[in-house]
Subunit: 253 residues, 2 copies
């Protein structure tokens, strides 16, 4: 039986894609069977894993034209599979509005594949629209990446309210698994202040904070997760420690 | 007669808010009458200018319940006014879908205030949904902030196609004024490569590249534009030079 985790935060550029891809690759390396679902029309997770969103993508699955299992593709990591996104997913947010059970489409689509994976990770777009709501309805847990900067703090209240709304109306089992601090620069007062603020408000914040590391920003241009691109970089080491913490919380192997 | 400029890019965290606020404050200091419209439900421009989105906001204007002029508030800069955003703006994207002339609501709302300003700047959310389309329909020009990182490059094609679609179907006068390179770190190979790539593809790229500067990230927590928070920082000096270039291109005073 698999655990489904959504990586969500409407604030842009906080490390949602980098965290989803790095955790997915790290867990797959430890023998966990992982499916990464790219629910962002930017398709950044898809390209960060070296895949092209050319064939069927999540859009056709949400529109009911293709089964989830038929859209899944392999990646360079043996135990990591991908359900890719494509640009037309941007249209889904408007087209789905008038459909029945519009918030449940992703959950229903994943029913057919859950048995094949231990972990299903969903990369969300930077908004609280229908695609993110679909991810929160499909998910058992939510991980919130937070960049250690002031503007990223501001949106956390809005995000917490949205998670609560989804829990109350659409998915009673949804839980906040934890907050992940990203792009943390301990040399700046701002970084230290934001870290303290986040840890004070969210007891579920992971111990591991991800440092700012240019190798993490380079890896997507090579279509490789950080573990393959530069395993010894500070970013890779931090994500390894995060994966250990995360699998510990899930009591996975 | 005013010029309306939308600051748009669906990639998150590339510096849309920071650029809109810094250009608005810089132009106001030079005697230009400026209105900043915050079209992002995160309301980051609103808080970066030290305002609270408590009274009427853009949401009520788009819903037709309040005139644009009645929602405008003053800021600490005498010639800079703000049309604030609020959290309920997130609902507008779904609610407006079924309304008539849903893409023209912002343009119609600004008709009543255009005469009062020389420059109207619109901060967009990180998506290509209805709020961004409204901004592109209301605008005469578009400025695209691009972070000097690989993933920010990926989305430029999608954005260019969206601008073209809006020009072809909704706003024939819309033009790309230019691309602004942000968070540029000349010390990294990635930064230099992305800069070269952007300048090669977009001749309208501004000469001024904005360096990564922590003072820019600190300024919003004080509710002040960079010109007030730390006028001598590298970020402030770069935005001063960008404002000179921009006003030159617009042939404004
Ligand atoms: N720890 C880090 N150190 C340095 N750069 C990072 C780090 N994490 C992410 N980045 C880079 O910062 C940028 C933003 O990260 P990313 O795209 O993962 O955020 P996101 O939240 O998924 O963005 P969006 O809101 O657009 O989906 C990317 O260019 C990425 O490569
Ligand atoms: N040149 C810069 N140097 C350092 N930090 C910067 C710079 N420009 C912006 N920032 C910081 O980077 C983060 C992202 O910038 P900003 O919020 O302006 O981007 P955005 O595109 O408006 O994001 P969103 O997509 O969420 O609307 C913010 O924390 C901001 O303070
Ligand atoms: Mg992303
Ligand atoms: Mg913004």
């Amino acid at each position: 039986m698999s655990v489904v985790i959504a990586f969500a935060n409407q604030k842009g550029g906080v490390g949602k894609t980098t965290t989803t891809v790095s955790v997915a690759a790290g867990a797959a390396e430890r023998g966990v069977r992982v499916l990464l679902v790219d629910a962002d029309p930017q398709a950044n997770s898809t390209s960060a894993l070296g895949c092209r969103p050319d064939g069927g993508s999540l859009y056709e699955v949400l529109a009911g034209r293709r089964r989830g299992a038929d859209a899944v593709v392999a990646t360079a990591s043996p135990l990591l599979s991908l359900l890719p996104a494509s640009g037309d997913l941007a249209g889904a947010a408007v087209e789905l509005v008038a459909q029945t059970s519009r918030e449940h489409r992703l959950r229903l689509a994943l029913e057919g594949v859950r048995a094949d994976y231990d972990l299903i990770l969903i990369d969300c777009p930077p908004s609280l629209g229908l695609l993110t709501v679909n991810a929160l309805v499909a998910a058992d847990q939510v991980i919130v990446p937070v960049q250690c900067e002031y503007l990223a703090l501001e949106g956390l209240g809005q995000l917490a309210r949205t998670i609560e709304l989804v829990r109350a109306n659409l998915n009673p089992g949804l839980e906040l698994l934890g907050v992940v601090l990203t792009m943390f620069d301990a040399r700046t007062k701002l970084g230290r202040q934001v870290q303290q603020e986040v840890r004070r408000h969210f007891d579920s914040t992971f111990e591991t904070a991800i440092p700012r590391s240019v190798r993490l920003a380079e890896a997507p241009s090579h279509g490789q997760p950080i573990q393959i691109y530069d395993r010894r970089s500070p970013g890779a080491l931090a994500y390894e420690s995060l994966v250990d913490e995360l699998l510990g919380r899930l009591r996975l192997p």
